[in-house]
Structure formats: structure tokens, C-alpha cells
Symmetry: D3
Subunit: 149 residues, 6 copies
Amino acid sequence: MYFKSMFFEDYTIGDKRVTLGRTITETDFVVHAGHTGDFFPHHMDAEWCKTQPFKQRIAHGTMVFSIGIGLTASEINPEAFSRGYDTLRFIKPVFIGDTIHSEITISAKSDAKKPEFGIVTEHVEIINQHGEVVQACDHLLMVKRKQNS
Amino acid sequence: MYFKSMFFEDYTIGDKRVTLGRTITETDFVVHAGHTGDFFPHHMDAEWCKTQPFKQRIAHGTMVFSIGIGLTASEINPEAFSRGYDTLRFIKPVFIGDTIHSEITISAKSDAKKPEFGIVTEHVEIINQHGEVVQACDHLLMVKRKQNS
Amino acid sequence: MYFKSMFFEDYTIGDKRVTLGRTITETDFVVHAGHTGDFFPHHMDAEWCKTQPFKQRIAHGTMVFSIGIGLTASEINPEAFSRGYDTLRFIKPVFIGDTIHSEITISAKSDAKKPEFGIVTEHVEIINQHGEVVQACDHLLMVKRKQNS
Amino acid sequence: MYFKSMFFEDYTIGDKRVTLGRTITETDFVVHAGHTGDFFPHHMDAEWCKTQPFKQRIAHGTMVFSIGIGLTASEINPEAFSRGYDTLRFIKPVFIGDTIHSEITISAKSDAKKPEFGIVTEHVEIINQHGEVVQACDHLLMVKRKQNS
Amino acid sequence: MYFKSMFFEDYTIGDKRVTLGRTITETDFVVHAGHTGDFFPHHMDAEWCKTQPFKQRIAHGTMVFSIGIGLTASEINPEAFSRGYDTLRFIKPVFIGDTIHSEITISAKSDAKKPEFGIVTEHVEIINQHGEVVQACDHLLMVKRKQNS
Amino acid sequence: MYFKSMFFEDYTIGDKRVTLGRTITETDFVVHAGHTGDFFPHHMDAEWCKTQPFKQRIAHGTMVFSIGIGLTASEINPEAFSRGYDTLRFIKPVFIGDTIHSEITISAKSDAKKPEFGIVTEHVEIINQHGEVVQACDHLLMVKRKQNS
């Protein structure tokens, strides 16, 4: 985790990076419930889950998102800040013991309202050990243009 | 936190609910960093932050989102499941000691691909103690239609 | 979790509510030990426990109590506050993987020293997935009387 | 934390021990809320608390009890097990930054149903840095009698 | 955990104490990663570990050390303070579910720079449920001499 | 955090890297006590600490070590593994609110017993916001030699 300056012009559509993996544990379920206050039985009650379609506890959508995005936090670009996320989709459930990693592809570049910035879109896929995309979203990164730095 | 069935037809555009508040503590910063692995100095290094525009540590975007959504987890609708989120925007920073709550408004209803479901859009605003919206997003809820239940 | 005013006169003996369930995980054991500083081998040493009557780690009594009571925290009555608990009994052990819920019955109403309050007794039973009561206690709730509000 | 056998006959009414102290931190509030799922604003919403009589967040009763009892967990008596607690009373609020310790006095000895056991009552007082008792309770300890060992 | 004064002269080479045991859980792995920020796949990615020599996640060296030393924290000697550790060796891996305890032997006594102190060396072995030493180190304790107290 | 192969021959004595900083919070104190079971009043009792030379709580030595080492966990060298640490010294106390970072210098290279490995010594200094070294140690890294790979 270190600083590395990258300007709008330095991003190339199609560039991709792949993170390390991380096994999602029962501990993560309990920590996320306690962190957010969401103790819904889908995540916390193994007996009730046995009566439901997936037969087992499923991860909070916000947890898979937070950890999947956390995995991408390896280099700090001081020329950029996060504007938010578009089209976050919960595609498949994540179960206790699944291992996820994230794949980030530069998918678009566009103008921002402020002329000294551009918007870089990173398409993020969070993928389990079976190669299935469990969540996907578009990260909007506001990045300084070189000429203005 | 209890079960209460609500079908697609039961949702009315414009209906609004307001959650309890919660103070975001330094503990939450440390827990979220440890939960996600994102130890960026923006959230974790008070000395470095003194040299930055906000002069203090700012909350992870994924934490404000996770807690803001967690605050809405009060009633379980067994007829619905979450499809994801659109247009999540990080509008203002959240600092240690800020108190946030969420306001959820039914903002749209539309057809889903599967005819037995409809899509209910909940516009969520996460608001601090000054009444400022710090994050906003649209939650897409897949809800069973009554005639199919 | 929302506010709902209930005065002493609004409580009816025999009224009962049942909470959601929650699976007690190894994580909860570790969190409770770390939270309280009680690292007794009954809760923390799987090898030693194999030599004991229950053959496995058993939950801290204070944890089952805290979580069992926590499960009841769904509605906030601004007219009431907790005076404490009577006759808390540790009836059966709770093991890793057990799922508990709580059942609360209004069991008594009586006068308080201060005439503007009454005492409502809630009998709380914490019950596992086999329907066995693992802990029971009487919660003493000081509740404002209507005529004084 | 070590084993030390003590039989029913070894307990003397009036004997007293005093634990170390521990400062109750904001972290403990957040951990206990997350551990139990009780996110009531009395404990979690500093802004709302400013409008209430105590003007600040107050500790969960179950947390003060769990930590206060945890402080007593120094020696393991293999001849005893806990039957539960009587007359647990929440006497004064505990605030962030308060430092508590526990004082345990053998207050009664009586027969148990099973003749090979006796009941030892430990009166526990949890005391803050001003010398005020914030909680008190009677711990019922089932202890083997010597002649049966 | 209580105070008990011991001066340099009170330590006898060869004296040994043995701590209680503690089972190292998956929770401890997750807590330590989150506490330290070390999310290396050796500790966190069960799938990747299957491709490695040990075939499973292995504990952080700093965690085994911290917990192994934590187990020794039973009595507080107000006449002593820790100078540090020599020759900390990571001898065998610790896996999820292993149970460790520590054995501490007074192995040396020597003069300190300050004449009113002496250095007591405690040789610490952290041992698993198979009797194997998984870590060892020498703890250097600065202890007041009696004649100067 | 990514893989990058470095063989024994690739390490140059005198090479140095500097980590990001991290503010040590009260939360870290509470987490470390709960993780290790060391609730000594030096770390946990603010009132008692007022009577001691430092007048405030001081960090556990094992915590500063674990976090200071954790800060160095940025790149994974699959050709190396940790043999342990030498001469870990606790030089200055770390207080709540201090910000630490680590500086790692390659300080020695030597032969290992197994001829296909060499030993690289990394001298690690953990430094606070005043530029003071609070802990120092020598990390012994077993690294494969190129000719054997």
C-alpha cells in the first residue's frame, strides 16, 4: 500500500488488475452483522436458513461489496478520489468458506464537470473460487488531468 | 427486526421511513479497516490527514454505506430480495464523532424480467447531524406480485 | 428498532413475544472472552474440554444472557427503564453452533416506590434449537403510569 | 488464571476479594452493541443522548454486568459451577471513560438439593472510580462438599 | 491477575510455570489480520493454501507470539518491566484448531547497566496439543534489586 | 499486496523501505487486550495509570510489534519465509493517539544451514510521530538462492 501518482491521461481502457484472494469466514459474517447492526436471519440463523432455498447462511451484500472493494486497496493514487459506484449488482450468494477475489478493468473515460478532472470508470467483478461473478459494479474515479497538475 | 410480508402492490411511491441515528466512532474506523483490509492513511493516519484538505481522518465510503444500509434493517419482507444498488454517490465526508441516520423513500416501481416480480426502487439518503446528505443511492428491491403469491 | 410509548396500564399479564433466532458461533465465544477478559478453559480450550463432562467448549453464562437479552431489543419504550434482573438461572449449556431465541412473557405487575411508576416483570426464556430453555430470568421494568405522564 | 480447588467448607462468610480495575471505553460500547445486536440510541447516538437526562451515552446494563463479572475470573475452582445470579440491579449509569472494578464478598452459605453440594452466595458489587456502586448482584455458586469428594 | 512484588533476588534459575491452554480459532486469524493489516494469503486464502506445502492456512507468527505471551499475563510484578525479547524463533506452524499453552522457565540472571536493576531471562516455549514447541523466545525482564527498593 | 520473487542475491545491504503510518487508537488497545487476554492495568485502567510514571495507558509491547510488523506486509516474496526475530527491544512507550510507521533496512546477509538458502537480516525500526524509535528488532528472513531455484 503505497502512493503512486496516476493522472487521467495515464489510464488506458482495457487495463486490468487482479487482487489476491480471501476466504470469507463465519467470523466475517459475525463481524459484519455487529458492525452494521443487520442481524437478519439470512446471515445469522443457521436453523432458519435450513428451511430456505440456499439451505445455509448467505453473506450480507454490503459485506461482499466492502471486502471485495477492500481487496483492491493496494496503491494510493493521490491524484484521484472516489465519486461513488454505479450498477452494483448482487449476482450470486456468497457462503461461509467461499474464497473471493476482485478483478478491476478500466472500462470507460469521460469528462467531468470540473475541467481539471476526468472520470475513469473501473468495472469491478468480485469472483468466487468457482470462477463465478458474485457481485459487479462500476467504480467512478475522479482523476486530475495532467495539464492541470 | 421481524417478518412482515409486503407485496409489490403494497408499496406506494412517496412513502418514507426514517431510521434511528448512530454515532460513527473511531472504533468503527478501526473495525472497518480491519474488516476490509483497507488501511489507507485517509482513514488511519491522523498525522498525515493533518496535511490534507479535511485535516482529519475520513470514513471509508464502504463503511458509511454499510452502516447506513444496516440502519434500515428493521423489518424483514419475505416477499422481497435485494437486486443491488444504483447511483451510489459519496457526497460529503463523514468524520469521527458524526452521527448519521438514513431516510428511505419509495421512488419508483417498474416491471421485472420475471413477470411474477416487480422492482421497487428505494431512494436512500444517509444524513449527518447537520442535516447534510453524505451519501445517496437507489436500492433495487425485487418484490413478488400479489397475484403470484 | 423504533420508539413506541407504552405505559404501565398498557402491559397485560400473559402477553408474549418471540424474537428472531441467532446461531451462536465460535466467533461469539472468542469475542465474549476478549470483551470480558474471561478466558477460562471451559470456553477457550477445546483439548481440555474433551476431558470434561460436556466434551466440548460451553458458552459463557454472561454471553448467553447478553445475546439472549440483546435479541429482545426491538422496540424502544421511552416510558420505561430497566431496574435489573431477578432469578437469572443457567439451566443448560450452549455449545458452538446452537441457535437460540428468546421468549418474553409479561408475568407480573406491581407498585413501585415512586407512585408515578409501576414495575412490570417480563419473564424471559432463552431457548435453543431443541426447544430447551437454556437460561431464564425475570426482567424488572420500571414503567411510567399514564395518569402521571 | 489457574486452578485452585475450594470445597464448600473452605468458604467463609465475610471473606472478600477486590479485582483490578478497567476503563470502559467507547470501543466497549461499540463491541457490545455489535456482539448483542442492541443498538439502542441510549448507547449509540451521542446526538440523541444530548437531549436526554444523562446528556451522554450510557453503557448497556448487560455490558457492565459481563465485564464486571469477567473481572472476577481469576482463579478456576474445579469443585464449583455457576447456578446463576439473583437480584441483579442497575443502580447508576456507566459512562464512556469510567473505570470499574468488582468487589466480591461471601455473603451466605446454604444447602443445595443434591446433598453432595452446597450453595455459596457471592455478593458482587461493581464500583466506579468515584466509589459508587453501579451494579450489584448475588452470584450463586454450587460447590462440592469435602466429604463427598 | 493481581499484583505480587518479586525482586531480582526472588527469582531462581530453573523455576518454571505453565499456563492454561487456548485453542487458536479461525476467528483469531481474522482478528489478527484485521488488527495488523497483514492479509497475506498464507493466513487468509484457504484455496491458495491448498496449493502450498502445508495445504491449509497457517497462523501469523506475530499472533502466536502475542497470544502465547498473553497467556503468561497472570501476575503483575510491580518491581519489573519488560526490556524486550531475544531469539524469537518460529519453529512449527500453528493451524486453525490447534491448542497452545506456554511454559516459562527462569533461564538466566545478569547485571543491568543501572545498578539498582538486574536482568532476569525467562525462556518461553509456546507448545501445541501434540507437545511440539511451535515458538520459543527469551524474555528480558528488568527487575529491581531488593537493596534498592 | 502482491507476489514479487526476490532471491538471496537480489537483496542489497543498506536498501531501505518506509511504510505508511498508522495512528494507534484506544480501540487498538482494547482489541489487543481482548485478542491476547492481557488486561494488565498498564494498558486498560486509566485511573491507575494516573498514579504511574507515564500518567496514561501505554500500549502492549506485543501490539506495537504486531502492528509495526504488519505495516511491512506489502509485498509477498514467495522465495522467502520468516525464521523469527532477534533483539526485539521496547525502547519507548506508545500512547493512545500516537502514529507509528516502520522503516526496514537490509542490514546483513549470511549463510544458512541448508545451502540452498541464505539468511537476510532486516533491521526494523518502529518510529512515532516525533521521529523517536519506539521499538527495534532484527527480522531473519530465510531466502532461496538463485542457483537453486
